[in-house]
Symmetry: C2
Subunit: 341 residues, 2 copies
């Protein structure tokens, strides 16, 4: 039996998305394997939760007045966040009442507070948000996706180490290859930060460093892991999502223009539905803050119940396999070997 | 009659791609409206060009021994570039022998040398590479795509001014809206550079500044122009290209898996071909260095003859409409008004 703490007030749509997502997660996991601690405005939560008896039974609601908005300045957000629905949900994990927390709220406050309350793995300075996305050959792990806007070369090296450890377990690869995102694959390209990070990475004997990769390589599968700062990673991931949406719309529009298009679509509809599902960004929603000693999963703020369900699923899977422990172990090997090298 | 200077030695594939691209451009433009000055290794150029009598007739070949490689350090590249096929092609425009130059060579050297030889428009410090890409509503202009890896807030403001001027003419819009690419649309998001650029942009009364936009907005059409530094822009554009390729491959794979998929594809094949063409990155190849007083078009280094043809087409269209003059005029209005404001 796993217990997850949910911040009911985070994200653009608040409790309804969170609770409906939780209800779906419960159906998926089976009633007896998942419990929730739900933090937020009881008045908004209760009327909704009463409609789902199974969810109500599996949940304990903690009333919290405060919530962190996306518009808050980071400093203020962190100060009030501790007593907010987000902060108390994180604290439940810190105290051991829950095995993981899920929030769609203010990324900066969520990360800062998780760092304080859940502690960092030794040797890692800042947590990173990874995503596992499909490519031509299978899947790539991309990080950071927005937890760290300004990165030093050392931060990028840490992301590479964490990415290597996570990909090792996620993709079941002995020594996953690591690419550093840049504007060209030639060794002289890019700014001083990626240049220095590349030099540093060559000094890690247990990191399978491929060298520089480009934006299209995120999708080509050239390397198992793609490392970048949170600004570039965030823009790249959202560009990819936007392109999927655009092409889907182009395809629909073009197919509806002629009778041949319409007929072809009708016949191959099953295939289109499958593809639609395979490329639905909601099914990739939910990413842990990598580098923490416990599980905190960030959901996209603008997602719906299906997306939030997937974020809960990520926390559930991480917790049930003690992924964080495994990644920490692997990370220690990589970092230790560096010191010996 | 227009004359364009071509660097036959730039890009990953050298003269064959350049010459075949030129041949296609000639067929497209009509023999009597386009001439070429071709700079490069005569021994490699002559055997190829002899196969195309029309191209041979329209071209003057200038033998040059030196060429700039992509692997060269920028300082060295610029030093030797002046006497290279690229440098002499640019010089032909500076001297007025040609109305524009096209090269697929080393971006850094190409930009640096163009700045020196072709001069900058008053008020603009660094040229930017724009691209016009399709979105849900029409087209967006994105800049910079890699000419400027590290950007100051002032550089971003210049890109906004140039983007506004170019979009005004390209999209025929009175006052195109300008978005600044960031990790979120909330006003507090992002790093110090985009924050300061946003503050500066609010002081330009003739710039229709929308505010921050995100990666997906490049494709959604939220604003006419998207402004970003060359690092982020390059990664975003290549991520978009990679996604198009990935989805095309997914679609093909899924459709070939069942007889319904195969039949549906067969029937709607015309639609798929149309979509394929609409999203072919080669048809978007070729971007001017915006901010120069003359026309220098950068082609993607890895493109083929079709792509290079499109880059020549861009130079041809810019030159035949005196686009640079129009953009400079519009830019002066924007910049002048700032000073008066």
């Amino acid at each position: 039996m796993l217990t997850l703490a949910l911040d009911a007030m985070g994200g653009d749509f608040g409790p309804t998305v969170v609770l409906e997502g939780a209800q779906r997660a419960l159906e998926w996991a089976g009633d007896s394997s998942l419990n929730f601690l739900i933090f937020g405005d009881k008045e908004k939560i209760t009327p909704f939760i009463e409609r789902y008896p199974a969810l109500q039974k599996a949940s304990t609601i903690f009333h919290v007045d405060l919530s962190v908005s996306n518009e808050m300045k980071p400093a203020l957000a962190v100060r009030i966040a501790r007593r907010s629905s987000m902060g108390l949900a994180i604290e439940a994990v810190a105290k051991g009442d829950a095995q993981g927390v899920v929030s769609a709220g203010n990324t900066g406050a969520y990360m800062a507070l998780s760092k304080i309350l859940l502690k960092m793995v030794a040797g890692i300075e800042r947590p990173a948000i990874p995503a596992s996305i499909p490519n031509l050959l299978g899947k790539s792990l991309v990080l950071d996706l927005g937890a760290n806007i300004d990165c030093t070369p050392k931060n990028l090296v840490e992301f590479a180490c964490m990415g290597s450890a996570l990909a090792h377990h996620l993709f079941n690869k002995e020594n996953p290859s690591i690419g550093l995102l840049n504007v060209g694959s030639e060794s002289l390209k890019g700014n001083a930060i990626v240049q220095e990070a590349a030099t540093l990475l060559k000094g890690f004997p247990h990191i399978n460093f491929y060298g520089f990769v480009e934006g299209n390589d995120i999708l080509s599968g050239k390397t198992d892991v793609i490392v970048t700062d949170g600004f570039t990673g965030n823009v790249a991931l959202k560009s990819i999502e936007g392109t999927v949406k655009l092409l889907r719309s182009f395809l629909k529009e073009e197919l509806s223009r002629s009778w041949k298009g319409k007929l072809g679509y009708k016949i191959a509809q099953g295939t289109f539905n499958k593809l639609h599902k395979k490329t639905d960004p909601r099914t990739y929603n939910g990413a842990p803050f990598l580098g923490l000693k416990k599980i905190a999963v960030k959901s996209h703020g603008g997602t719906d119940a299906l997306g939030f369900f997937h974020a809960i699923k990520v926390a559930f899977n991480l917790a049930s396999k003690d992924f964080i422990g495994l990644v920490e172990q692997h990370l220690n090997t990589v970092l230790d070997n560096k010191e010996k090298a």
